[in-house]
Symmetry: D2
Subunit: 460 residues, 4 copies
């Protein structure tokens, strides 16, 4: 397969009009669906599960429930629904996340202190806001509010994924290693997988099942233009020059990662970025987050169904940028040129190969654990598993696209102010909803973050 | 009033036999009472309230419920009830507090991570252990087990007080400043107080209502001898020489503390211990814990019934040793010689004046906020409010009594290993049960601890 | 002025041969010059000045003297001079900076503990190594050693600049605010400056003297190809696509910065990156490093000649990336589109405008404080002051160029392992030697670093 | 030997007059001696050695030289010598240690930043102050100034010892482990020692050479009364009741400590205070400070003459309170009742046995390393080595004596404000001057301090 760059690419035109958002009944339906999915995610959880904050970077489930609701209250109901009364005068303080423009707020690291309001009261809050949002949708709908609602729903979908990653971390900090849902089994959490079943970790690194797709040099368009919703950080669409490159047809697997560990991956300074090596030594990392050896020395991992053996064919997950980078350097020892792709390369490949979240290993499946991607159906193979499964670290720091300017007002704080010392991940994970994903979507986390469903794919 | 030291005091005889503990039905009844009181304390709390740990030094209510239960399982049921099966194989790990002799344990600062077991399961655990304790009391009772049960019940009473201080701190960390019990009012939390009602803080320091009781120099006995239960750190009873001294008839009040603040108490380095002054500057202390000024500059304080105005006649509470010491130095500027009493002076006075917890401002009253002590009934006045109200900081570091040796086995870790860089408090508080207190009781906390119901009384 | 991109740019050819390094007498002369300059820099300093480490990121002057010498010993004399005996068996441990491949080393933060060897002994060490380097130059010279010597000399020039920035920081931490050189005056440290003399900070932001040079869109070459020495991180030369842009003709000045401060620059969250705002609040930054207000509220700054008034026309210096970014956002409020340039834009402009370090405000002048750049001589103006003065922060994170691979061996640790969470600065400063600079030179520091001679220039 | 307590001890009378201080020529001579000794201590040191601060608790030698000089300037010359001009207007800020009453001061942890003033300038400062002190002694002498000078000289003697402990720590932080004085040998640093020569560490704990002296129960006087100089914290003299006790005739030795290590002393939680055990695990302590095993597993220790083998007969040194306490608990396993003495017991024993610093292992000998105490000459044996050698940790927290009040003015900050969470050490060390010591002298350090010449002696 080969993507064809335009030989003479003109600058993207400025969109004549903003994209037409969903409106009317379609929007109301989507609103109901997204809101309901959040609540379905906490169904298996007790009020106790929902209140605890396991580390400063993670938030309690109750906080996610309330914060996503506050978003609609602050950005829609207060400005656009006349005579709207806030549910509680202090909730704006408690559930604002980081919008300086909307006033002071509760300290992020103290979100776990909020035993009150109770989970039940937070559900009342949600019902109150949903009721008034219905009123707004009924009476005051405009392209402007429709666009803001779209932001709010995407925002809530982001928090759905965070809710899952955060509760996974919370449950793992409990020495009992409990499952997220009573009776949830690892079979349920995993698909049977023909390709990788029963494989032992290879004793030396071989990208056995991996092949690479070629892409030609050329001037490409990157970023989102018009048409459908996207975040500000995906814009403006712009031209980039890429030399020819190749992208692996699937993410790096647990079996390959076990080989990296066996080969001393976590003990060889020469494989690591300087800051990564310092972190390895300080934190004592010896494997991805959630991996533990049992008494027989076999690797097991914590999933939302509890502890389970490693499946060598599954994509490796819960590695951070330092680890992804070190793995790529290690792989390059066997096969020079292997490396992480840039986010531009990733997007060019996704554009060419097609990016179909609905067919991906996404949250809609309800399993929340990455599976080995199914073999491609086409003759050319092409990259598989781009949508869902694991977020894929790229070699690209998270910075503004040329010409980017944050929108005016509080929503300008949504993305722009985090463009410093974070790295872009692409493609979505098994905890992301299909309707939330796009080929141009830019997720970002600091180099040391491990608690997301993050893996990697090689390029060369 | 004057206490009469023996002119020629002989050394305390070694107790011929250990004290006879409660046994039989009386013990069973006390067991039931103490256990039930713990559960009554959490009745107003939600499962969410019970799981959160607001700081490393405090523990979740659920943990207190389970840990006190584990104590009986570990020290009574496992060694003394044949065929006893532990309720859960991991609870020994989860709910051991600090007994190295009993194996590894969950990290203290991570007690708030335990969303599972649920509060309900912990109540099941309590019921399971109570049921088997009834069996033990029925079948295997001996002086040895009776003594251990006595320890276990006193241990649980200590945790009842900690449960209250810890939940108070938890609720206060919530910006909503919620009350412990729905509908609890500050009227309920406080007694009407004839003496201090409506007083404004005096503009200069006057110990107006305070008078002092004299005690003669002499050789006194200090510490507990035989007869009733006490902790190892109250023993052995021994002789001490005290010069004549006087003790104030009541604790320092909120009104006096407000005067200290007004007079720059928290801004004058010369009043503070060096480490105390460093802490004041680092932490920004300007008043006791839980005191806040409202918009009009009036002091309010957080109680278990929510925020309430300061009552100038009440004993000041939630001050640490540094603050108590600074206050005493400040008081001595007006009246040279004023200082904190030593724990020996305190005990000599309590011996002479009588120490009657049942009549004190104790947890049994269910108000959990200190009241101004009632005026003494006798003509001489004598120290009032020694039992209950607020724990009173003394000028005595917490060290071993002459001849002290910790008991053998895991219980040897109960007290002895903490005899370093802590200070003795005496007398009990409004959150201590009457049956838990004795004139010889030695409580201890580090110099910077403020979240206990701790105040002070002056001597000279 | 307009730079002309190739309309159809072919991929840079792989260099047929490595660049021909300096050799023979020319190399020996350069060796002697560079080494002597280092020693001249410490002439004004006492042994006491040279031993202290003022913060973990800075190093003592004595350490710089020894480490640069160790570099020649480790990379040249040990491998290439037969029978060479190291000067001291422990110096390899003491003076290795960060080369894991060369064994364990003294902790970076403890470099200030080395009162021994004395400064005098370190000079003996330098003489010993220089003597043997002369032998090597005489007898064993090859293209390979010549290239390594070139690296060693550039390495030493980097440390010359660090020595100056570190000693400036050391002297500033002394409440006496002493000058680097006895009798050094601020007149000596500064050029008379026609343009900015006597200016008061403007009360509102006006880039009065600033004009912009335009550059066309196109495919450009970036990075160094062949011919002269460069670091690995400047390679490979590669093609990039740039949209049209404009670059300011001079760096941002102290006067403009004072206006930014006056306008609340350090108190407005909306101007800052999220991590930058957190740092401002944590560190209490209110102005660039070394700026202090005197009693009359006038800004003064610490220079190597001591405290001096701010000159509004001088380039602002000692600001970090967060500050540079916040300034650019603030400037864009007045004039939309203003921003920091990318490093590619900067290099394209420098290529077009000419980059002449010898004519720049560089260390060779011996003043070590940036001056306002002289007006351009040409009719078109063009960007002035690109070489020297202040390092200019760019909007580019420091990452590998496409196709970059670190060299084999210990020198592979020189640059590559730091390509994470740092930002590129371009152009050199008043503390950089002219012979060390190139238009393709990539300096890099973390976003919070302020002690370098770092400023900024705007683009749009 | 037996000390005889008074059967009926009357309260110490208040001293009618303050003690008569040294005056006139005798005082001038003592002034000259003490000041000269300080300067002799830094003779072997380079300016570089004198400027570095190896940890926040230690100070640079140059700072000690200047601070002790500032003391005379601040407390004598400024108030008592008319028309005195301070040497430098900022030295008061730089060299005040902790006297809040004398204004703000340079941060303690930043004392190592002062490369200027140079060591030479500090010597000029000393000469300037000495010259004016001579003037003051000549013209303005009074009992009041004589008493302040006495304080200043004792203060300087304290800093002489700190200068030695701090420079020892500084030199040890250097991986070269240099000696304090060129050519200083461990032979010079140690006396030949008949008793312990060649001993190997015993494989099980035997206090072989140790015997105990008995002291009867009774009412004793403790603290200093009148007559000679003492610090405020040694006063008032007061009565204490002590039960009968016994004190070991010599300090614990290195041989005994090696046995403690071999027996798992640093790995057995049950031997340690809770805070001590936490510190052992956090810091990784496995032996006293400065002990290191060589390749053959033999213990060596750092002395001011460099690294040297352990001498089993020498008093163990550089242990902190936690370690001393753990050792005593371990010793009590073999011989119940062994423990650390209280400071009162120590003083009673020293009173009875005689306390003769001039004959002790003190700084005047110039060796600065403890030797095994010579056997007692008398028939009864009695405690040896009480004066000098190593400071002996006692079981007594450092608190005020009954009736203690700090003096008015800045000197009131000398001792009183440190009476919190520190422990008393008695007797002096090999780094203390003989004329500085008294039986009533109370030294004090926190429980984790190891860099002083601190050891222990057992009681029972």
């Amino acid at each position: 397969m080969s993507a064809a760059p335009a030989s003479s690419l003109s600058a993207p035109a400025a969109p004549a009009v903003a994209p037409t958002p969903l409106m009317g009944a379609a929007l109301a339906e989507r609103f109901a669906e997204v809101r309901a999915f959040t609540e379905r995610l906490v169904e298996p959880l007790s009020p106790e599960d929902c209140v605890v904050q396991p580390m400063p970077d993670a938030s309690p489930a109750k906080w996610h429930l309330a914060h996503t609701t506050w978003f609609f209250e602050a950005f829609l109901l207060k400005p656009y629904l006349s005579k709207y009364q806030v549910f509680h005068p202090k909730f704006g303080f408690l559930f604002n996340s980081y919008y300086n423009a909307l006033g002071p707020r509760h300290a992020r690291a103290a979100r776990g202190m909020l035993t009150r309001p109770s989970l039940e009261e937070v559900f009342d809050y949600r019902a109150h806001v949903d009721r008034h949002m219905a009123e707004l949708l009924d009476q005051n709908e405009s392209a402007e509010t429709a666009r803001l609602i779209e932001v709010g729903l995407n925002h809530e979908q982001q928090h759905q994924e965070l809710l899952l990653t955060d509760i996974k971390y919370t449950l793992w900090r409990n020495p009992l290693r409990p499952a997220y849902r009573e009776g949830m089994s690892n079979d349920e959490c995993r698909m049977t997988n023909v390709e990788g079943g029963g494989d032992k970790p290879p004793s030396s690194f071989v990208i056995r099942h991996s092949s690479f797709t070629q892409f030609d040099e050329g001037l490409y368009h990157v970023g989102r233009d018009t048409g459908v919703f996207c975040y500000d950080n995906e814009q403006p669409r712009h031209r980039v020059w890429r030399e020819a490159f190749e992208l692996a047809d699937r993410p790096v697997t647990c079996g390959e990662w076990a080989a990296f560990i066996e080969d001393g991956g976590y003990r060889r300074a020469e494989l690591w970025l300087s800051a990564g090596w310092a972190a390895v030594q300080r934190e004592g990392w010896e494997a991805p987050l959630y991996w533990e050896r049992n008494k027989d020395g076999e690797w097991r991992t914590f999933t939302l169904a509890g502890m389970a053996p490693i499946d060598p064919a599954e994509p490796v997950c819960h590695v951070n940028y330092y680890e992804a980078d070190a793995f790529a350097r290690w792989a390059a020892l066997s096969e020079p040129g292997l490396r992480l792709p840039t986010e531009q390369e990733w997007e060019i490949a996704a554009d060419a190969a097609g990016f179909d979240p609905a067919a991906g290993d996404v949250a809609d499946r309800g399993r929340f654990h990455p599976s080995a991607p199914a073999p491609g159906s086409g003759s050319d193979g092409g990259p598989r598993g781009l949508a869902g499964g694991v977020w894929e670290w790229t070699a690209s720091p998270y910075v503004a696209y040329p010409g980017y300017a944050p929108p005016a007002g509080a929503l300008g704080e949504y993305n722009g102010k985090f463009m410093c010392d974070q790295w872009v991940l692409r493609g979505g994970s098994c905890a992301t909803s299909a309707t939330h994903l796009r080929a141009t979507y830019r997720n970002f986390f600091p180099a040391d973050a491990r608690w997301q469903f993050s893996g990697l794919r090689l390029a060369r």
